[in-house]
């Protein structure tokens, strides 16, 4: 119980800090409301994706990011159209946060022609380059090179853009991360390593897998590193703003350790999780640390929205998601002969 009390206390401190960061995040009320909507969109997307899996309407499997909305939205709200992201196997949130829409996302999850990748990528490979999303990646740490290379070309071409590499705590075990962080530091590349530490790499707690302190790993290269409450949207936004400003100013890379939690298992089929984490722990995060009501509270306190308005937002997005699912279920599959297309760019 002591641990829980401590966490509650931390929560209160976090809420206080959140209120303080409202102004430093420098967003208009409408921008803040939109950020709230984006988090609700992600949650709605994931709930529907899970339902599709449970009803056996979705081929394969998928990895839910419910609970991690603030890190995706907070980081992406700091970006503009020049910027690129790379995402992970747990990537629906990043995709929505970067501006993707429901219909082509659900179509992709269901392997339909109208999907973002014409059904060739699926949940783990959604790419939406019009919104600067270079794609989710099903190899843990697999996109760390890609993101750092995108930062290199932004610098080389002088676009002023930055690249965000979303990675999970599991990717801290991959050697390539340290190779590219070294080059990012040597060459002062405009890259942000947004490490969503949801505390579990697949079915194992981070304490069993990570020696030392993850921030120190980045700092060893001279990379600015910051730990952020990943459930506090405004804190994430403020940290991302700082990182983006540094990158655009030519001051190089930043590593953000965003402490967060995933409500579902490693993937949708990971139902019985008792051997690696407790129900109490899950309930605690959902009840006390859910980024959506936490930020909703800030909006209420600031008078940016009323409770009724927030409810209406949730309902409207639920309807939008349900409609997109309906649409995707009815949408046609790609023709069989399309399997041979796009092996090579023409």
């Amino acid at each position: 119980m002591t641990a829980r009390k401590t966490t509650r206390k931390t929560t209160k401190t976090a809420r206080k800090a959140a209120r303080k960061t409202v102004d430093s995040a420098g967003r208009t009320p409408e921008q803040l409301l939109e950020a709230y909507r984006q988090m609700v969109r992600i949650r709605a997307f994931e709930d529907n994706a899970n339902e599709l899996y449970l009803q056996a309407k979705m081929p394969g499997l998928t990895h839910m990011s419910s609970g991690q909305e603030a890190s995706a939205v907070g980081v992406c709200e700091a970006l503009d159209e020049r910027d690129k992201i790379t995402s992970t196997h747990r990537g629906h949130g990043h995709c929505v946060a970067r501006g993707a829409t429901f219909r082509p996302m659900f179509c992709e999850l269901l392997g339909k022609e109208e999907g973002y990748c014409h059904g060739k990528g699926g949940s783990m490979h959604i790419a939406d380059q019009e919104n600067g999303n270079l794609g989710a990646n099903a190899i843990v740490g697999g996109s760390t090179g890609i993101a750092t290379g995108a930062a290199f070309s932004a610098k080389y071409l002088g676009t002023g853009g930055v690249a965000v590499c979303f990675l999970g705590d599991g990717a801290l075990g991959q050697g390539i991360l340290y190779e590219v962080m070294n080059m990012a530091a040597l060459w002062k590349l405009p890259v942000i390593y947004a490490c969503e530490n949801n505390q579990y790499g697949e079915y194992t707690h981070i304490d069993e897998m990570l020696a030392g302190n993850m921030l120190e790993r980045a700092r060893a290269f001279g990379i600015e590193a910051e730990e952020v409450d990943g459930q506090d949207l405004l804190a994430v936004m403020a940290a991302a703003d700082r990182a983006v400003a540094r990158a655009r100013a030519g001051e190089g890379a930043t590593f953000l350790a965003l402490k967060t939690y995933r409500y579902f298992g490693h993937h949708v089929g990971d139902i019985n999780r008792s051997y690696y984490r407790t129900k109490e722990e899950e309930e605690h995060w959902k009840a006390e640390r859910d980024p959506i009501p936490l930020f909703g509270e800030v909006l209420l306190e600031r008078g940016i929205a009323t409770a009724e308005e927030l409810t209406a937002i949730g309902e409207a997005i639920s309807r939008e998601a349900a409609e997109a699912v309906e649409y995707a279920l009815e949408a046609p599959y790609p023709p069989a002969e399309a399997a041979r297309d796009h092996v090579y760019a023409s």
Partner: protein, 332 residues
């Protein structure tokens, strides 16, 4: 046409592409002032500066992965991978990332990058600096594979590779860097298209289909056969992916006999794929079994007394060719 070395041809190709297109850059280990251990890139950093000829740390997965990201976002990287053997270090970035971006994105993403590396044994470099791994790369859909066999090919194929919108792996034969050959003048720009094999010699009795280092072996073998009164078609495959099946099949349909040569290991190698296509599509034109010569299925040994015999040579090729032509092939 002037005569220059293979190494000069590679250098010229890169310099010309760097001058033509500002989005082209090159990186790898010791590529700038050192100009690589083979000195192939000497002088480039002086002309193009360290912003475009970039020395990387010894981090092959890192700089190959970064090249993928750079290629996805508006540049055209040329990556120098010091030894072909280091391909094993970069498999995820090359085969899971570079090769699949176009396909997984439904054609929305492209990776216009070139990975230059090398192949070839008999340099006394032992098992980790001597392999010929082109079949490994050719196995993965989404990658293209070029195998220049002369200075002219080295230049023309590399220039085409830089302009290709796909990831291309070029294997240069380490032993060939100092070899000289005719290359068109710089002002007569020559791009050698992918998927077009080159018939170097015309003959009637046998086809010798070869890649890279084995093209020279095939030419020597053809000469040996001439001394015996026979003539051979010599086909330089040039690119394994895409493969110019038509030229190979037309030759075999004409001669009825074929030896396929490639310096990669024989088992599951490039020769197996080519031989299989011949067996499939030219079966009724064959007068003898399809023969293939690759490197022995052993790690490349260090000692000269051991190493040389593991790579196909002209003498054994001639011997086998004569058996095929004279119908002296023993039945198993």
């Amino acid at each position: 046409m002037r005569t220059i070395t293979f190494s000069q041809a590679v250098n010229e190709a890169i310099a010309e592409e760097l001058r033509r297109d500002p989005t082209v850059f090159l990186w790898g280990e010791d590529v700038a002032e050192a100009g690589t251990p083979f000195k192939v890139l000497s002088g480039l950093v002086e002309e193009f500066g360290p912003e475009r000829i970039i020395d990387t740390p010894i981090s092959e997965p890192g700089f190959v992965g970064m090249a993928v990201g750079a290629a996805l976002t508006g540049t055209r990287p040329i990556v120098d991978l010091m030894f072909g053997d280091f391909l094993f270090l970069v498999m995820d970035q090359l085969c899971n990332q570079a090769a699949k971006q176009s396909y997984m994105s439904g054609g929305k993403l492209k990776v216009p990058m070139v990975l230059r590396t090398n192949l070839g044994a008999t340099r006394r470099s032992a098992a980790q600096h001597s392999q010929s791994l082109q079949a490994l790369v050719a196995h993965i859909p989404g990658l293209k594979v070029a195998l220049p066999s002369s200075p002219r090919e080295a230049k023309g194929l590399l220039k085409s590779a830089v302009r290709d919108d796909n990831p291309v792996v070029i294997f240069e034969d380490k032993l060939m860097y100092q070899a000289k050959g005719p290359v068109p003048e710089p002002e007569e720009e020559e791009l050698i298209p992918f998927g077009q094999a080159n018939r170097l010699q015309e003959g009637e009795d046998l086809s010798l289909v070869a890649t890279s280092s084995m093209v020279q072996v095939a030419e020597e073998a053809a000469e040996g056969l001439r001394a015996e009164g026979y003539s051979a078609d010599v086909i330089d495959v040039r690119t394994l992916v895409p493969l110019d099946e038509d030229t190979i099949l037309a030759s075999v349909r004409k001669t009825g006999r074929v030896i396929v040569l490639d310096e990669g290991h024989q088992s599951y190698g490039a020769t197996a794929e080519i031989a299989s296509r011949i067996a499939d599509k030219a079966f009724y034109h064959l007068d003898a079994p399809v023969t293939r010569f690759g490197a022995w299925d052993v790690p490349v040994p260090f000692s000269p007394a051991l190493e040389d015999q593991t790579v196909p040579d002209a003498a054994r090729t001639v011997e086998r060719a004569l058996q095929l032509i004279r119908g002296e092939v023993a039945r198993a």
